[in-house]
Each structure stands twice: as structure tokens, then as C-alpha cells.
Amino acid sequence: MPTISQEAIQNALRDWAGRIAASSAEGEKLAVVGLISHGDILARRLVALLQNAGVPALYGALDISLYRDDFDMLSHKPALRASYLPFSTDGMHVILVDDVIDTGRTVRAALNALFEYGRPACVELYTLVDRGGRELPIHPDVAAFSTPKEAGVKVHLLEIDGTEDITY
């Protein structure tokens, strides 16, 4: 089974931080918002890397369960986790972060959820993996890795899974 290493994941995050730091305008209000339950971990790391690069960014996390479009098809509802977005996103540059993009439906739900916290100036999407199975016209601005559509993807992160890699 092909594996992407912890080192490659960490390099990708450093690359993102460099890219954001290089493109962020003076005085721009930046927020990094991760999607629970893996995107929020990536977002937290990205905020720390940006901090080290001298670019302050606010951290947020979104649980999108209540915005899903397949609510009626679920036989049981996933347990909710509290979203954490203790600021208005009005006028902010928001970097939305998730581990995997596939159909694009999660991102659709995340955009709806995000806009209930204010009106961001712009929203960008960073994902670790692009599986390419898109069903909506939504695409990441940056995707670190691509995996074939047929393969399942598992992202493990140290903070919640105890190990760190991507297998597909």
C-alpha cells in the first residue's frame, strides 16, 4: 500500500506557511479554519508555523455535521463536536484547511457554516490530499498530494491517531 511519510506531511505544511507568508498583504487579517476532525489539527499546526514566520493568524475549527446535505440518508447522526470560531470573519482572509477533498460536499457544507460567522473578504482552500472524485464545482487552491480516485485514503495525524502518515 503506497504511503506518504510524516516528513512529507510536515514539509507540505511548511510549504503552505511559506506560501501564505509570502502572499499575505500588510495589515491583512488572517484566519486559519480547520474542519473537524483532522483539518483542525492541520490548522493548529499551520497557525503555529505562521506565528514562527512572523505572520499572526487566528485559529478556528468547524464541525460541519449540521450542514451536511445527506442528513436524511444517515441512519444515525454523527456525534457533534463544538465548532470554535470565537471571532467574526468579517473582512478576513480565511484559509480553510482539511485533510482530504473528494466529492467537494464537505467543503460546500463548510462554506455555508463559515458564512454564518460573518462575511470574509476571501476564502482559500488548502487540503493535504486531493482524491479527485468531485461532484461539485469546488476545487482546492492548494493540494499537497493527489491520490487515484479508486483508492481509499487514510490520513493519520500524531495528535489524534498516535501515528502519522497517509496511506492509499
Partner: protein, 309 residues
């Protein structure tokens, strides 16, 4: 949690169900702090409140919860409905099913009526209080409030005071608290507190024994108006014997105990005026948490009104 159509009693639920609903209630409470206090989870779903017994708080709490989940809410008011013309519960169910309701929230003076309705319809049925039997959504909001205050329910000591025998709140709340590892005791007029042999719950007859037991939470039950001035309940004697008087409030304050009450409070009966402003009163928290707990219950139930196959 496993798919579940109805919420009738706490006893029907697994430990996992209870914890999942409590955890999700925490997330629901986060919605109240957003500029848009609404989520689309139940958009297009119909919620009916069917109250055969008067209630302002529970019903409006469910209605606010349903609105915040974007459901459409219909209120079936018994005094203006056909029930007064003699329509049976079964005929009412048929009528309601023709209206294609997805969730029905029922209160009835007889135990078991919500279960009958649940058996005969595809809608998710939530028991909002049936006779002296059960009031599970109250149990969830009480457990949630204690967990929020202390970080955990396990190991906390809660004494429930009042007419235990006729109280569905006492029954459901003590069940959930014990399931979550709390210790529960009862105190009240002798004939109105079931013996420990039946419930496994220690029973006290006076405040000295209550304080001796070292509770964390004092939970007062509402004295039902219809029972005041019955032989068991002379109102002013009740306050002196079982209520939180000014003197007891000082002791509660010294010991840093919390006060809870399902509302509405009879001032001067269960609680003295000063107790309403007590720094550790959780009564307003209970009201706010009631909405979050009921949102979580609505969210986790699965009506059989969708044809997925």
C-alpha cells in the same frame, strides 16, 4: 449512537446514547454564540408539539430548539382542538400522520400515552412528560447543567427535595444521574418519598440529615399547585420544613452548594426570595441548557418518515 426513533424514557437508552446526546448538546450550545443562531440540520422537517397538559417552559424550549435547527413547528393546542370534542388519541394520531409530521413532542397526564403514539406512527416521538412516569428531556438538561458546572457528573452528590412520589422529574433525573455515576438522595414529606428498599436511593426526612450527607447540589422540585393545601402540603409549613429558607440559604452559601429547580418556582414555598438571586443558583442555566439538550435530542432521533429504500 444506534438509530433510534423515539425518546420515551432514560431507561431505554444505552450509556453510549446518553453520552452522545450530552456531548452533542455542548456543540449545540456553541450555536447560541454565533451571529446566526440557526443551523440547517432539520430544514424542511415538521415538528409538532402536542401538549394535553399545560406547560409553557417545556413547550417553548422545544419550539426554540426546533426553530434553531430550522424545522417548521406546529403547535397543537388541546383546549381548541377536537380532543375536547371527544376525539380519541388514536384518531388524533391518524390526523397527525396525515399531516406528515416528522417529530411529535407529547405531554399527557397519563403515563404511557407517548409510548402508544410512538408505536402507531412513523414520526419520532419525544416524551415531554407523561403522568408521574418520565420526563427524559428534563433529565438530559439537568445532567448537562451539572456536567457543565463541575466538569463531570460522576461522584457528585445530588439531593432531590419535594414530592418524589408524584414526580416524573425526580424519576428521570435521578435515573440519568445515577447512570452517569452521581450519588442521589431524596428528601421530602414522609408519605411522598418512596422507601429506599424500592428505589435503592437513600431517603432523608429533614435538612440536618441532608447537610450531614454533604451534597454538592440541592435540587428542589416544584410543589404542584393542586397539591398545595391538601393534607400533605400546607404551604407555609412546607416552606419551614422542606424549603430553602433564609437561614438554610446561608448554610448552603457557606458550603458553596448549587441550587437547581425545574421551574417555575413557587417563591416562598420551595425557595425564599433571596435564593432566587443566589450566586450558585443554576436555575437560569437549566433554562438555557434545556434548549441545547432538546436540540441534541431532536438531532439524534431518526423518524421513519423518510423512504430511503
Amino acid at each position: 449512537m444506534k438509530p433510534r426513533k423515539d425518546l420515551l424514557t432514560i431507561g431505554d437508552l444505552s450509556d453510549e446514547d446518553i453520552n452522545t446526546i450530552l456531548d452533542s448538546a455542548t456543540a449545540m450550545k456553541d450555536i447560541f454564540t454565533k451571529s446566526v443562531k440557526k443551523v440547517p440540520a432539520l430544514k424542511g422537517k415538521s415538528v409538532l408539539t402536542l401538549f394535553y397538559e399545560p406547560s409553557t417552559r417545556t413547550r417553548s424550549s422545544f419550539e426554540v430548539a426546533a426553530h434553531r435547527l430550522s424545522a417548521d413547528v406546529t403547535t397543537f393546542t388541546v383546549s381548541t382542538s377536537s380532543v375536547v370534542k371527544g376525539e380519541s388519541v388514536h384518531d388524533t394520531i391518524d390526523t397527525l400522520m396525515s399531516m406528515k409530521m416528522d417529530y411529535i413532542i407529547v405531554r399527557h397526564k397519563n403515563s404511557g400515552i407517548p409510548a402508544v403514539i410512538a408505536r402507531h406512527c412513523k414520526a419520532a416521538v419525544i416524551n415531554a412528560g407523561d403522568g408521574a412516569h418520565a420526563h427524559p428531556s428534563q433529565a438530559f438538561l439537568d445532567a448537562f447543567t451539572i456536567r457543565e458546572k463541575y466538569g463531570t457528573v460522576a461522584g457528585k452528590r445530588v439531593v432531590i427535595i419535594g414530592d418524589i412520589l408524584h414526580s416524573r422529574v425526580a424519576r428521570s433525573t435521578s435515573t440519568i444521574l445515577k447512570r452517569l455515576g452521581a450519588e442521589v438522595a431524596y428528601m421530602g414529606p414522609g408519605p411522598l418519598v418512596p422507601p429506599q428498599a424500592y428505589t435503592g436511593i437513600p431517603r432523608f426526612s429533614n435538612w440536618d440529615d441532608v447537610f450531614e450527607w454533604k451534597p454538592d447540589v440541592i435540587y428542589l422540585l416544584r410543589v404542584q399547585n393542586e397539591r398545595i393545601d391538601s393534607p400533605f402540603f400546607p404551604a407555609k409549613d412546607y416552606h419551614q420544613a422542606f424549603g430553602v429558607t433564609d437561614e438554610r440559604l446561608r448554610r448552603i452559601d457557606d458550603l458553596n452548594l448549587s441550587i437547581m429547580h425545574p421551574g417555575p418556582v413557587n417563591r416562598g414555598v420551595e425557595l425564599c426570595d433571596a435564593a432566587m438571586d443566589y450566586r450558585n443558583s443554576l436555575i437560569c442555566n437549566q433554562v438555557e441548557n434545556g434548549i441545547a439538550a432538546r436540540m441534541s435530542i431532536l438531532y439524534h432521533l431518526t423518524p421513519q418518515t423518510q423512504n430511503n429504500d
